[in-house]
Amino acid sequence: MIRPLAGALPDDFDTPTLIHIPLDKAKNTGKLPWVSTCRSRPSSA
């Protein structure tokens, strides 16, 4: 749940928004609506 001014920039979201992100288990990736495909991995790896 993305709420206005709660972890989001002021003009990004006017109302609380729920977004489902499709995950690809084989590739270990997620498709975020505002960026290209994002890989799921530890930041230190």
Partner: protein, 231 residues
């Protein structure tokens, strides 16, 4: 490991006893059995390096959870007692100084095996690390709070690896039915949300860690279970 004995400490002790008895006889047996030809003594002495191979702190011993120093201590104590038995057979006198010496060596072995010496960090350096698994479920998931007062579900040594599964999303955040992998609804029904926040699986305690110490946790891998996420 070709075979397993329980408790695991038993295997090194048996092997050390065998090798030490063999070695003691090989080295000192000729003092008692002077009638045995010299060739027999030499052959027995040559065989002793084979027993040394068995005493090395190799992979099977590592799997028993022993350090090289502990193995060496164990070997020295067993060797001394084997020698003492042999001395008895040779009818050599035993004095109070021998007894005190054995007692001190045994006390040294005790300290070698105490927790004070075998600190968890040493185990990490020695590569003796275990793998654990903690599954998300009604008894293991805490929703909205994760307090140090909670009883640990798992207690691990420093350096161990823990695989923890997680539950994602509230009941009203579930994806459409087309999702191939919906979370188990029983988890949401049975786990009570106590405060706003995330669903956490655990807690996991680290043996020997004290309040105020810094804890280093390395996230080795993230494996996806569902075919959806939510934000």
């Amino acid at each position: 490991m070709p075979f397993h004995l329980s408790p695991p400490y038993l295997l090194p002790i048996i092997l050390l006893l065998c090798s030490n008895l063999f070695m003691t006889v090989a080295w000192y047996g000729h003092l008692r059995f002077k009638e045995v030809p010299l060739a027999g003594v030499i052959l027995a002495s040559w065989a002793s390096p084979l027993s040394n191979i068995a005493r090395r702190p190799g992979e099977p011993f590592r799997q028993c959870g022993l350090f090289a120093a502990q193995l060496k201590t164990m070997q020295e104590v067993i060797t001394l007692w084997c020698l003492r038995i042999l001395a008895g057979l040779l009818k050599e006198p035993i004095g109070w100084n021998h007894l005190v010496g054995f007692a001190l060596i045994s006390a040294g072995a005790f300290f070698h095996f105490s927790e004070m010496v075998s600190a968890p960090a040493d185990k990490e350096d020695a590569g003796i690390m275990a793998n654990h698994r903690l599954e998300a479920g009604p008894e293991t998931v805490h929703w909205g709070f994760f307090d140090a007062e909670l009883k640990p579900l798992l207690t691990v040594n420093s350096g161990d690896t823990v695989t923890i599964s997680t539950v994602s999303g509230m009941a009203n955040q579930m994806p459409a039915a087309r999702s191939r992998c919906r979370p188990r609804s029983r988890d949401h029904k049975s786990v009570q949300q106590k405060l706003p926040g995330h669903m956490c699986t655990g807690p996991v305690a680290v043996k020997g860690a004290k309040a105020g110490q810094a804890l280093e946790v390395r996230i080795k891998d993230i494996e996806l279970h569902y075919d959806w996420a939510t934000t």
